[in-house]
Symmetry: C2
Subunit: 238 residues, 2 copies
């Protein structure tokens, strides 16, 4: 892991890194050892420093004394698309334009991305070393890729997930999630059918899991849910 | 309103009262004016001083500096059953024993009780006078009777509801609820069909409403939801 730049502001240090060609960011409290580490998974079409990712990282670092890390998902941000990515994305767009049902291709894309990012996240965890208990916070694409990660990685002790459903999430992965989960649903989400979101929550094997549903579309998660999710992570990692 | 007894402990004063034959309890911080008032609706078969009611009241008084009030619902606690109550309850029990579907009778009972308790709660509010912004916290029966109360009473500015569904709640009342609502669902509730609970949340006309669902049965609401509900009320009434 090679750190390429560092800036500090308002008590939080932000460091860019590269690990095996994967670009990432690490946020941490400036003047204290972090009490825990939260991996943040960005949404579809976003990247490691999307506004929602940065907002969560700053909240965790400044508010909870936690470190936070984000990486570009494969085919996102500064990372190239493979021929396979291009094929699926092109066909998916054609179907969104009326040439059929895009859902199976979204599932195929997410399964492909998950197979890549799960070992990548695990190598990031290895490289960062022990920064305390580990959590995960990813919605939408960050949930679809986070469910198999949380299932595979025993260092992760609690997760904030949501804005995704069974069809968009690699099959079977939810049954491997056993840690406490906060799961966000937008009640009028035009991108995620309500029944599929509820079914994904249902499929999580966690004994402690709480679904929070709010009115509005995919992008309308109320601001208070971020504070509530931080408290959830602080309760389980702090 | 006649106060009949008063005790204090741990900074909270508990006073029993009678108003027009209705027995009630008022909790308040011992040494300060209350910042708000929360009406607490007890569950089916319970009464004004059931353990869950007292726990909420003490949390609100000691933790938030709020007053809290509870009354026995008609046909509950120290209040008599009318011939009409007896008829419905007897028939409902027979059907629960195998003589048919009890759901329509539960709806009939709740509609009857709501018609009685809504004006009773309003008279309690009148008698207590101004104690600051008013909230409501009622689950199960306390939700079925609370939905029409919150719809009818403009002094109530926020409500914690849940553990009930469309079939058990007076028809049409949910569409009159417009204040912020926290709505609790138990994912494996054997008494409230999941679809009916989700449909009741759906029917609330509130612009701000959040559903919290947790695994387990009707009585298994996790302890952290009480703290979260208190913070919700403090946010809207404080």
């Amino acid at each position: 892991m090679r750190f390429t730049s560092q800036t500090s502001s308002d008590g939080v240090t932000e460091r860019f890194f590269i690990l095996g060609g994967i670009p990432g960011v690490l946020w941490a409290p400036e003047d204290a050892e972090p009490r825990a580490l939260v991996l943040i998974g960005h949404g579809g079409g976003q990247h490691r420093r999307a506004p929602g990712v940065v907002a969560r990282a700053l909240r965790l670092a400044a508010g909870c004394g936690f470190a936070a890390a984000a990486i570009d998902a494969p085919a996102h941000g500064d990372r190239p698309r493979s021929a396979e990515h291009e094929r699926i994305i092109t066909e998916m767009r054609a179907r969104m334009g009326g040439a059929g049902d895009p859902a199976p291709l979204l599932a195929e894309l997410h399964t492909l991305l998950a197979a890549q990012i799960v070992p990548e996240w695990r190598s990031v965890l290895d490289a960062l070393g022990d920064m305390g208990p580990v959590g995960y916070w990813g919605l939408s694409l960050g949930c679809a890729l986070g469910v198999p990660l949380v299932a595979a990685e025993p260092r992760i002790r609690a997760a904030v997930l949501g804005l995704s459903g069974t069809a968009a999430t690699p099959a079977g992965a939810a049954a491997g999630v056993t840690v406490p989960v906060r799961f966000l649903v937008q009640w009028d989400d035009a991108l995620v059918p309500r029944a599929e979101a509820l079914a994904l929550f249902d499929a999580l094997a966690s004994k402690e899991k709480t679904l929070h549903a709010n009115p509005g579309g995919h992008g309308d998660v109320p601001a208070f849910e971020a504070g509530s999710a931080s408290r959830f992570l602080a309760r389980h990692l702090g």
